[in-house]
Symmetry: C2
Subunit: 265 residues, 2 copies
């Protein structure tokens, strides 16, 4: 067996999220069926993490182990798989990696982008791809709010619980570091970009929702700063933005080991 | 009854085209159900023309007659209807017009845009929105080819037959005038824009297909020019581009009567 690291882009609208489910209508299920068809045997793939139903990706990463009978040049893998995939899922890159590589455990960070549309009437081509916020709000305050998330914080107020957390929840369980934030405006769209070492369940959507509540004047920047820097046990983000606008842009790995262009094997 | 002119945008992917069909899965059917629900009585709408299955619109125009019980300000019509429509169809503009206005017969021209993607791997968000032509071809020759269509020509070679044409086909039946053409490139996308006084069935897709055959060297510009300017009875465009990349951008009406901003009534 040889381990391969794949990069995938997908339109999340037709799928029930990344993670395999009994009904088989998830991105992982569709990818595993393509691999299994190609290999003639059941194949499991391992993603860098889940994306929720309706969330998109331009740079999701996963790994799979290919039988030695399928040792083709790395740059032939995308086409070999894309012919077996619906057009809403594309493999954009593949490279052979050492057996110690793991898409989830080797990752050092992720970049997400959230798209908000300010159009008076949502463009039908943005349906499911942008959060429609046509009423008055301030992009300037949104930007100030988003930058408050930078740094290492206890993100308790910006984490939804999956229900499988250890009890009592250990000290530092919700601590994460946001290394970069950016707000950019292009026509009717406002794009928020978050890069961090790790993200909690629904964290980007809860940060975006809270920042937008500040931008439309429902909470102050001071109140938001307290949620971020000194949360009380019951503090919660005032709003969770919908999945529509969210795209996983990139998963980061240590450059020295897995450069985008460098062939390991 | 009061006549209203509506402008609509739609993502054509989920629909079997504009024109009403028994199954009810067309844009016209969905719109008529929204009007009928609002009026409490069956309502027919009249489009500027058909768009085929999978073809999109940013500026389709149609008219409808509203009962006098529904005389609301023109700028309230889009929201009143959009709440009853799927997000892939949006009413973007409405205005009251004189009873003599007809979306089809009053139109003086249309503008269509065709989108080609040159990306090595088609972006999953472009699936159904662009024609994927990743192999080598010349945007420069495409542009020269597209401009050959300007002017008044017998477009016999660029018309698909619907089967309901008069026989024998009258002299001049396929004569049309293309008033403007444009080719623009943005990143991986090449956009071709055609404005004309009228378009035959599949004409934009047949022009685009032929221009692309020239751009990839399958026919010469001289051969294309002959198809346009001196077609023989059996001449046909060498290729019909798929519906995916096609968008009806605008329907033109005499400015003096129906300006976009001018309220008639």
């Amino acid at each position: 067996m040889t381990r391969i690291r794949f990069t995938a882009a997908y339109d999340g609208r037709p799928y029930l999220g990344w993670q395999s489910q009994p009904g088989g209508r998830t991105v992982q299920d569709v990818l595993e069926r393509a691999f299994s068809g190609l290999f003639g045997t059941t194949c499991r793939i391992h993603g860098s993490g889940r994306t929720d139903a309706g969330v998109h990706a331009l740079g999701q990463v996963f790994h799979a182990d290919a039988p030695d009978t399928h040792r083709i040049p790395a740059d032939k893998w995308p086409a070999a798989l894309n012919t077996r995939l619906p057009r809403t899922i594309r493999i954009t890159h593949a490279e052979y990696v050492p057996p110690g590589f793991h898409a989830r455990f080797s990752a050092t960070g992720k970049t997400y982008r959230y798209c908000i549309s300010r159009a008076p009437i949502l463009n039908p081509f943005d349906a499911g791809l942008a959060w429609h916020r046509p009423l008055a709000w301030s992009v300037d305050i949104l930007e100030q709010a988003v930058h408050l998330f930078r740094g290492t914080h206890d993100f308790t107020a910006f984490a939804a619980l999956r229900g499988n957390e250890p009890r009592p929840i250990p000290e530092g369980y919700f601590r994460r570091t946001i290394t970069q934030t950016q707000v950019a405006q292009t026509g009717e769209h406002v794009f928020i970009t978050f890069t961090g070492t790790g993200f909690l369940y629904k964290m980007v959507r809860l940060m975006t929702g809270a920042a937008h509540e500040a931008a439309r004047g429902k909470i102050t920047l001071e109140e938001l700063a307290r949620l971020i820097n000194a949360p009380l046990p019951d503090d919660k983000s005032p709003f969770c933005a919908p999945p529509d606008g969210l795209t996983l842009m990139r998963v980061h790995y240590p450059e020295e080991t897995f450069g985008d262009k460098k062939k390991i094997n």
